[in-house]
């Protein structure tokens, strides 16, 4: 039996009938995407509350006695790990990846729907195991999100018993879930594109998610290796990472392990992880900017190349997280160089976003506000990255609030702004309803200005030398009194930003039934997901026939065309053409 390409098949892949098949044990990528998103956002809210508690302690020390030093470290650890892995990675790839890939490439579903379903349930299990560590004796681990040994498994660190084991087991389970999902995303992009959808006609959202998934598939094994070996160190008493060490006055049985080895493995995962979060954000923001500026993305090919280059380079910069761990100076030189090189493709992307806006017909819709906000926060976070990428500048700034401010701007605030923008952008397609514009704008300005109020002063604190990870600063002599005032102000700003999330949630939930009915293509977008016969798309996405693609994803404001957008599935009009064929740029 000859193999028939998926683009040539019109039959649905699976056919659910019962409520459970449709909405719970569902194999439909759209339902799985929503399941992923709901769990990720829920666990993200937990992490947000934890950050609020930390800020209360930092802004008003000795006021909130229920936040003791142990709790503080546990909150730091869980906040970091949840935000990076269980929220951002899961939401961008499991949520947006699942929803957008099949719709944007013109497929009926992922190529392995059953495995896709299992991926979600295993992810949920990982989340439950992680959250269960709040309820075990000793509580969750307080080792910091990097989980550096030996302290992570030694008595004295909070949660060094069951807490750290549950964290490592949960990470292992997450990686299994991610691998199952990731195999689907990559294979679907390679294999299930509809007719005419060449790789170079794919929207940049798909490119970003695709490359991020490849990075994840190759980088997460490093985390798995380190998690397995650390679990063995902690439970069976092996000495992979744990050197000869005395704890609480007693020398332990470990001998000869290498903590530095863990750091190498962790950051071999940890740095690509930054781009696992950033690349989907880059892709999505490109589409948001192009759509809402009614202009083709500037330098599409360059954008794709930049995504590939950033992906490749992200594997050779990991040790810039380890300048203070001690290394051969030539190593430091090498990693500083690669780190600065990665700024080149990243800067290309930023220029192209700005050039896309230039002379565009900019509609300041809520998704567009978030996309433009992202350009600001990403430039700020990126520039401070150049500071920290240099060994000599990094050494004095390392372990200060400058680093905290840098990574929150670049991989906290920036991707989250894109997440919000993307939710506002695709909400009409996902739910069939519009949201409240005023509430959306209030949410944007509270978030955008609020996050600046939090993180700009943190840079200053860092330059003053305020160390990170401290439970309380006390009356440290070298710090001026203003440090405490700034900390109070940051805490107030953080609480306001946290409150803005409530505005967002209120808007999203009430709009489900109070929102105006959405048309099928409210943003007049060119990409395929807006061309489905039904809104929200039904099971199988495309009705009886799969779409056929005739053009790239960015035919906006084509000279001579009746509308300012031409969807990808509209055939080429020989009189008009599209893009630059008949335009002024020929």
């Amino acid at each position: 039996m000859a193999y028939v390409a998926i683009a040539d098949r019109d039959a649905p892949i699976h056919d659910p009938h019962t409520f459970i098949e449709k909405y719970i044990w569902s194999q439909d990528h759209k339902v799985i995407a929503i399941q992923y998103a709901i769990v990720a956002i829920f666990v993200g809210l937990v992490a947000l509350v934890l950050s609020g508690l930390m800020r209360l302690q930092l802004g008003f020390p000795e006021t909130f006695h229920f936040v003791d030093p142990n709790h503080y470290y546990q909150f730091i650890t869980m906040h970091g790990m949840i935000m990076v892995i269980y929220l951002l990675t899961a939401l961008f790839l499991g949520g947006f990846g699942n929803y957008l890939i099949p719709l944007m490439v013109g497929a009926r579903d992922m190529v392995f729907p059953y495995m896709n379903m299992v991926s979600f349930w295993v992810y949920l299990l990982a989340v439950l195991v992680l959250l269960s560590s709040f309820f075990v004796p000793g509580g969750p681990t307080g080792a910091g999100w990097t989980l550096y040994p030996p302290q992570a498994i030694l008595t004295g660190t909070p949660g060094s018993g069951l807490g750290i084991v549950l964290m490592l087991v949960s990470l292992g389970i997450f990686i299994i879930a991610f691998t199952m999902g990731g195999l689907n995303y990559v294979t679907t992009v390679l294999q299930a594109r509809c007719k005419g959808m060449t790789m170079m006609r794919m929207p940049l959202s798909v490119w970003g998610i695709f490359m991020a998934t490849i990075l994840g598939l190759l980088a997460f094994p490093a985390l798995l290796v380190s998690a397995v070996m650390m679990t063995l160190d902690g439970t069976l008493g092996t000495s992979f990472f744990t050197p000869a060490v005395s704890s609480m006055g007693q020398s332990l049985d470990h001998n000869g392990g290498s903590p530095l080895l863990f750091q190498h493995l962790f950051w071999f995962f940890g740095h690509p992880e930054v781009y696992i979060v950033a690349l989907p954000a880059f892709g999505i923001v490109s589409d948001l900017l192009s759509t809402h500026a009614r202009k083709n993305i500037f330098g599409y090919r360059m954008m794709v190349w930049a995504i590939l280059a950033i992906g490749g380079l992200s594997f050779v910069v990991w040790a810039h997280h380890m300048y203070v761990s001690g290394m051969n100076p030539y190593f430091g030189f090498f990693f500083a160089t690669t780190t600065l090189i990665i700024a080149v493709p990243t800067a290309i992307k930023v220029y192209n976003w700005v050039l896309t806006l230039w002379k565009g017909d900019i509609h300041l819709t809520v998704p567009m506000l978030f996309a433009i906000g992202f350009i600001f926060t990403f430039i700020h976070g990126g520039l401070t990255g150049l500071f920290l990428g240099n060994v000599t500048v990094d050494l004095p700034l390392s372990d200060t609030y400058f680093v905290v401010a840098h990574f929150h701007m670049v991989m906290g605030v920036s991707p989250i702004l894109v997440v919000f923008g993307a939710i506002y952008h695709w909400y009409p397609k996902i739910t069939g309803r519009m949201w409240n514009v005023t509430l959306g704008k209030i949410h944007f300005w509270m978030t955008f200005l609020g996050t600046y109020a939090i993180y700009l002063p943190m840079h200053y604190l860092g330059i003053l030398g305020v160390p990170r990870r401290y439970y309380a600063l006390g009356d440290t002599e070298f710090l001026p009194k203003s440090v405490h005032t700034i900390n109070e102000a940051i805490t107030i700003a953080a609480l306001i930003v946290a409150a803005s999330v409530l505005v967002f949630l209120f808007n999203m939930i009430t709009s489900l039934w109070r929102g105006e009915k959405a048309t099928s293509n409210p943003w007049k977008s060119t990409t395929l997901e807006w061309q489905t016969p039904d809104t929200p798309p039904h099971h199988g996405n495309w009705g009886p026939r799969l779409p056929v693609v005739y053009r790239w994803a960015y035919d906006y404001s084509v000279p001579g065309a009746p509308d300012d957008f031409i969807p990808q599935n509209v055939p080429v009009d020989p009189k008009l053409g599209g893009g630059r064929d008949h335009g002024v740029h020929h």
């Binding site: 790789m199 190759l218 992979f240 000869g256 493995l265 071999f268 190349w305 790239w552």
Partner: protein
């Protein structure tokens, strides 16, 4: 991290191939009709999925071996492991299992039911035999927690063999399902793809094992 450097070189190679293969030089804004416009790879998804999965497993074992080599060089008191003789025998058994899988895959393609049956039984038995042999090897290197705690080389031996064994058990699960379909009277032709993929996976796991074994022996 020299192994990691090799891994990165491989990764860059694959990325470069991919860039050429996917015609990154295309100008998508020009709406000229392109020849062979479908673009999607016309290989069955399961096969592509398997290759991607094998890339993930390659990454996993490269990192394990990288860790092994770094741990060996970065610390004092490393005590070399004497590889038990049975591991040589196990290696031969795994090679035989791989050959049997290949036979099963070729026979099912030619519609030879009887040969397929015996080859499947041989592949399954040899693979389980390999796993049993590895457990006997644990007995030989140091059967208790005392040894695992005392020697990182022994601990690595356990970790590497268990990681490899778990991947083989995953393969056996898939092979078991295909064999059940075969025993239930499925036409050989319908099993062609499943067994072809199993054969690829078995060869892959054999190569992984040979590399792991080689590193344990010579590094």
């Amino acid at each position: 991290m020299s192994n990691t450097a090799i891994f990165i070189a491989l990764f860059v190679g694959v990325a470069a191939w991919f860039a050429v293969a996917s015609r990154l030089t295309a100008k998508p804004w020009e709406n000229r009709e392109q020849k062979g416009d479908v673009g999607a790879i016309t290989t069955p998804p399961a096969r592509i999925g398997l290759w991607i999965f094998m890339a993930v497993v390659t990454s996993l074992f490269s990192l394990f071996l990288s860790a092994y080599s770094m741990r060996m060089h970065q610390s004092i008191g490393w005590c070399h492991l004497t590889i038990p003789k049975i591991v040589w025998f196990n290696t031969l058994v795994l090679i035989a299992a791989s050959i049997a899988m290949q036979l099963a895959s070729s026979a099912v393609g030619r519609g030879q039911r009887q040969v397929t049956k015996y080859a499947l039984i041989a592949a399954g038995t040899l693979s389980i035999g390999f796993l049993a042999g590895q457990m006997m090897a644990w007995q030989a290197v140091g059967p208790s927690l005392y040894f695992i705690q005392g020697s990182p080389a022994i601990a690595f031996f356990y970790v590497l063999t268990i990681a490899h064994g778990l991947h083989l058990i995953g393969g056996l699960y898939v092979l078991g399902r295909a064999s059940l379909r075969f025993a239930g009277g499925a036409e050989p032709i319908d099993l062609r793809q499943s067994l072809a993929l199993c054969a690829i996976y078995w060869h892959f796991l054999l190569i992984v094992w040979l590399v792991v074994f080689g590193v344990l022996l010579f590094l």
